[in-house]
Point group: C2
Chain length 717, copies 2
């Protein structure tokens, strides 16, 4: 996990020259560990922080452990002797050329010439990690890691050490904390023995009680809504504390809230209340503005929603779970590519979801969530081009896929087995038997495995996954495509087709590109645009439904949907997007969920999908070859007068502006292609416009250059 | 892991009535955890304590982790409500009937009627463990454990919680320490700035410096021999400390020694030196005495050798490694059954060696050591009859065997692969290619797997292992049995037989009962008693060689060998038996090993094999059906005038005394059979003597009764 370009360069050099020493100036030292260990440990620690009032509420899925012992290895060829200094998290020994170093273990002299250095570290409590600082020998991507000194993994590919941004000896990974900064309350309403604090919008952090005096008990009732803060018997989170000394006090738990209702004993007095806002520092790279102020506000609140949920990992929601869910995460990744382009958080989340081996349970216990995990890696590689990460996580892709494939039924299809949760969506629909949507996700996962296997040169497995995917796609069409209805049916149970048609398999098949043009058109007409088919009500599946519609050019329809659904939440007072929204429900009933009065999350990552929709389908920017080596810009107005914004890429931001009369692009990255439609002949500044088909044009975009295409009253909606 | 009969009874009840509540009075509460977790964690902690002078020296094999999250489950049916109190190692939540308990998590009211209780615990640093105390609900063998609440393992057998003897809330597993007691020095020789302390015999513990005064540095050089303690530059272990205050000081590290050479600065004074002897409390149940005082001393020193190495786990040696080695352990188990009958330490050691899943490396990295591990479990069950343990560890037997079987070559045989260490013995012999001894160990391991699978009712795998074993035995005879030489050859390399004959495959085949009578006789004559075949020089393989000879009735020969080899060590000053002994070498050269002047261990568990030889082959007691349900007593004098002693069993000790004129037995356990030979007609008191064949007699032994058989000048050597 590399934050800086310098670290990345060092890691790539290490892949190329793993045994021959450094080919260039040494990278700065940073804390390193076995890939995934930090993320597994941190996610465990984070996920056991969920409180439901006075009870701790732990995840019910498998927790894995970091490796308690790791051997860090480095081969060097030194022009002159060099003393390295070591900082280590754990008990350790240093071995040079197979011999244990005696005496001072913190400063070790490495003689000139070729040498193998090995640091063996044991740490049960937190991930074994080292920080090595020398003139040329530094802990960085050059080090390999394994379970024993100079271990050669069976597939022959040495495992490179992982790192993040722990660049100083005094800040080891085990001390990782999010950043905080103090913010004041927007309003404080004082009662006799109470304070009702409003921070003005959804936020998260440690409440700070200032100028506390007296002795007695204080209880804080948190609320994402005012109603929840006032509902002292049914709100989701609270903290109790006893005041034992005067002064300022910071609460020990970070909580999500907009409001906090503070009740205290007679003998207690509290002067003021603030919040240590807790956050992951981010650069807001993506942007979007349009001629519709309501949509602009929706985009801004979407960004805030994603920002609040982008923390140690991508969370589902900041109030309730503080957990990591694979189905939520795979969507969040996509939104992130159009907002922060924070690849580190994608990688951390991917490691955390997967854990270690052996696998005996689906990710989050949910069958579909194991499958989304593979797709998330495929997406990651497409957006970032980060082959080193795929190489690093590939062994755990193989073992999870082994687990998945081992659970197919005699038809070669997946259905829920005892202990599996088949989620698909919060909607009344059958989830037993062979679901079409599950088989489609499996086919897509097998495609992802084949791509990754090809990338890491695992030729044999690549062929195997490719063949499995092809075979499964045939089976899916045979079993679920209803030629009469021209749509996918929902499932087959005990060998018999169930004639129910749902949106889910149809929109996935469309999005995955598994349909020919006629089938795609039929699905759009017969299912997606057909009000007779059961509607999707969760923002979770709305994400795919609207993406599928936009994918097939229905931005006009999407604009209206976004305006209604997300605009509705804003009209109902949202400062952040919700887990679920039904305009027919009023407060406080609409805050209920899971049988609890305030069970619903008012700040849920999957509510931020307009970031993805506007970035990918309006500004129209998407990578074609991995990491934007080639990409497409295809702006669509979706009935708006004008749109403009930035889309981040690994190489810089692509600026796009489009109106009914012109398109402006500042290109970045590899080679781009601008695509647009126009009913009148367009003119360009820079570049050459080619006619793709009647009324459709293309133009090649070179990095770092500005392009303007002008036309009058074009048909680019 | 149960210490008391009460705990064992509770565990058995839990196996029988896992879901129907308790069928008898509740067992006392004890700390419980996921099977293997405590042992994995403790063995990691112990094995990173090896020092080689100033350097820490860690094992080079895979370390596993305990499970960071464990869910403890109990189903109850209460006549009346009951409040349970909880002590937990880790963060936790309590769930009753699927609902999180709010408020006080340490005292939970369980209503009358049927309920499911679940305690979810997270602990990265030490194994999740709970202690629950209620009127009838207590943490004991009734609880099941899993990775999620109410988890149903795929094979359908719930995993029972494990425990040991942590019976009070204040003494949780993570605080486990061996016992200590202060012992004085035998002699202290004072120098100007030094003390040379002799504890009179090999021992281990924390040196205590008494009445320390002054300020300055002190260095302690430990020696198993006087020469080592004086060799300040080349001794294996030392401690350095700075005196900062007056009074008594206890060194932080437990060290093996007979001598300690203490050197200190001018300004330091030390009044006296003692040792906090560190030990696992044991009952010395087995005993042996004979007409030969030298052999008696050998037995006593063997017991001391085993006792010192029986600690957190069965160690190889107390000075150097402090590690756990599977090949050493499997022998130690057998010695233990004739000494302490400490089944807890066998179980702890078995868990620790195995670790967790997935397996990607042999135990201790050694191919043969993975195989011995299976045999150790088979032996354990035979001696103890503890089916619950086999049930508990069976899943990890399956995964290790999967790993082993996955590494067979195209002939279905095992040979060393890259990263494997093929040890066999410290002897100059080829270890590449297909070794006969390795295939024999695999066949024996497959037999063990088949027996265990049968025991846990895994019918399918039992048949598979049985078939694999039968097939392999045929292949072994075809590939390695040389009809001309009437012996096993050592190996086959690249498809070609190597004509070298070594003792190793021949003695294992004999001991495993894989030979018919003619083959056995041939092996004994052509190999074991043949001085032309390369001799075995390590006590490690002497164990099997002498056992094989005794197995075939050559106690007369064994007596002489023991007298020479072990008696030789005693004559050379041993107070504990050594890792290796060559009478031709003199001190200090004989202390050298592994290229180090004092590398050899002078207190090595495998040196204690006379315990096993005398118990099993002289007193002649051995279980036939598991746990001594049936057993044999077949005393053999081995040229001694008389022998007498006790052999421990799960049911009590069996007393045996034999001389040239009579045999006395006090029976215990299940049904025994006394076997003996006599040239004159024997007379008995109690019981009935049957003639087995000419000159051979048998008698049935009933529990708790005394038997005396008298005859004159019998042939029972």
């Amino acid at each position: 996990m590399k934050l800086s370009a310098r670290h990345l360069a060092a890691a790539i050099a290490a892949l190329v020259f793993p045994l021959t020493g450094m080919a260039q100036a040494p990278a700065p030292a940073t804390w390193i560990w076995y890939p995934g260990d930090f993320e597994i440990w941190l996610s465990n620690e984070m996920q056991v922080k969920r409180n439901e009032r006075d009870a701790l509420f732990m995840p019910f899925w498998r927790f894995y452990s970091h490796q308690p012992q790791v051997n860090f290895t480095r081969h060097v060829d030194l022009a002159e002797p060099e003393t390295i200094s070591l900082q280590v998290e754990g008990k350790y020994s240093v071995v040079v050329d197979g011999k244990f170093v005696q005496g001072d273990q913190r400063h070790v002299l490495v003689p000139a010439g070729k040498h193998g250095i090995n640091v063996q570290v044991y740490n049960a409590a937190t991930p074994p990690a080292i920080y090595v600082q020398g003139k040329t020998i530094r802990s960085d991507g050059h080090w390999t890691v394994g379970p024993k000194p100079f271990y050669k993994p069976l597939n022959g590919v040495p495992v490179q050490a992982a790192s993040w941004h722990f660049d100083t000896p005094a800040a080891p990974p085990s001390r990782y904390r999010l950043a905080t900064r103090e913010i004041g309350a927007a309003r404080i309403q004082r009662g006799a023995h109470s304070l009702l604090v409003d921070f003005g919008q959804e936020t998260i952090g440690f409440v700070k009680l200032k100028q506390v005096k007296g002795r007695g008990n204080v209880t804080l009732y948190y609320g994402e809504s005012l109603e929840e803060a006032l509902a002292t018997e049914t709100g989701e989170t609270l903290d109790r504390l006893a005041i034992a000394h005067d002064g300022d006090m910071v609460l020990p738990n970070s909580r999500a809230m907009r409001y906090v209702n503070i009740r205290f004993d007679d003998d207690v007095d509290i002067g003021d209340v603030a919040l240590l806002y807790e956050y992951l520092p981010q650069v807001r790279r993506g942007s979007f503005k349009s001629s519709d102020a309501a949509l602009n506000r929706i985009w801004d609140v979407s960004l805030r929603t994603l920002e609040l949920n982008t923390r140690e990992f991508f969370l589902d929601g900041i109030k309730r779970d503080h957990w990591i869910w694979s189905g939520d995460a795979v969507q969040t990744y996509l939104m992130n590519y159009y907002a922060f382009f924070d690849s580190d958080t994608v990688k951390r989340t991917t490691w955390a979801l997967r854990g270690a081996d052996p696998v005996d349970m689906h990710i989050n216990t949910i069958l579909d969530y194991s499958l989304y995990w593979f797709i998330g890696i495929d997406d990651y590689y497409r957006y970032t081009g980060d082959a080193a990460f795929v190489q690093s996580i590939y062994p755990r892709m193989v073992t999870l896929m082994d687990f998945v494939l081992g659970r197919r039924n005699s038809n070669g299809m997946l259905e829920g087995m005892p202990g599996d949760w088949v989620f698909v969506d919060w909607a009344p629909m059958p989830t037993d038997g062979e679901l079409a949507v599950i088989q489609l996700l499996l086919a897509r996962s097998l495609d992802a495995m084949a791509d990754s296997a090809t990338l890491v040169k695992d030729v044999e497995r690549a062929a195997k996954y490719r063949a499995l995917a092809a075979d499964l796609k045939q089976k899916i069409m045979a079993a679920f495509w209803d030629p009469e209805r021209q749509a996918f049916i929902h499932r087959r149970k005990d060998g018999k087709p169930d004639t129910l048609v749902t949106r889910h398999p149809n929109m996935f098949a469309l999005m995955f590109g598994y349909l020919d043009a006629a089938q795609a058109e039929a699905v759009k007409r017969n299912v997606l645009m057909n009000d007779q088919v059961q509607k999707i009500t969760t923002p979770y599946m709305r994400f795919y439904e609207l993406a599928a519609l936009a994918e097939s050019g229905r931005q006009d329809y999407v604009t209206g949907q976004v305006r209604d659904y997300w605009g509705g939440m804003l009209n109902d007072g949202a400062t952040c997007f919700w887990e679920q929204y039904d305009p027919a429900q009023k407060a406080p009933e609409r805050y209920a969920m899971y049988g609890k009065a305030f069970g619903m999350s008012l700040c849920h990552a999957w509510g931020a999908s307009p970031l993805y929709l506007f970035g990918r389908y309006y500004l129209g920017v998407r990578p074609v070859q991995p990491g934007y080596a080639t990409y497409v810009v295809e702006p669509r107005l979706g009935c708006l007068e004008w749109i403009e914004g930035k889309v981040p890429t690994p190489h810089g931001d692509i600026d796009v502006a489009a109106s009914t009369t012109e398109i402006r692009v500042r290109a970045h990255g590899g080679q781009g292609t601008l695509r647009f439609a126009s009913t009148v002949a367009p003119r360009c500044r820079e570049g050459v416009i080619r006619t793709a088909s009647t009324g459709h044009y293309e133009m090649t975009l070179e990095p770092g250059r500005d392009y303007v295409v002008a036309y009058a009253a074009a048909s680019s909606r």
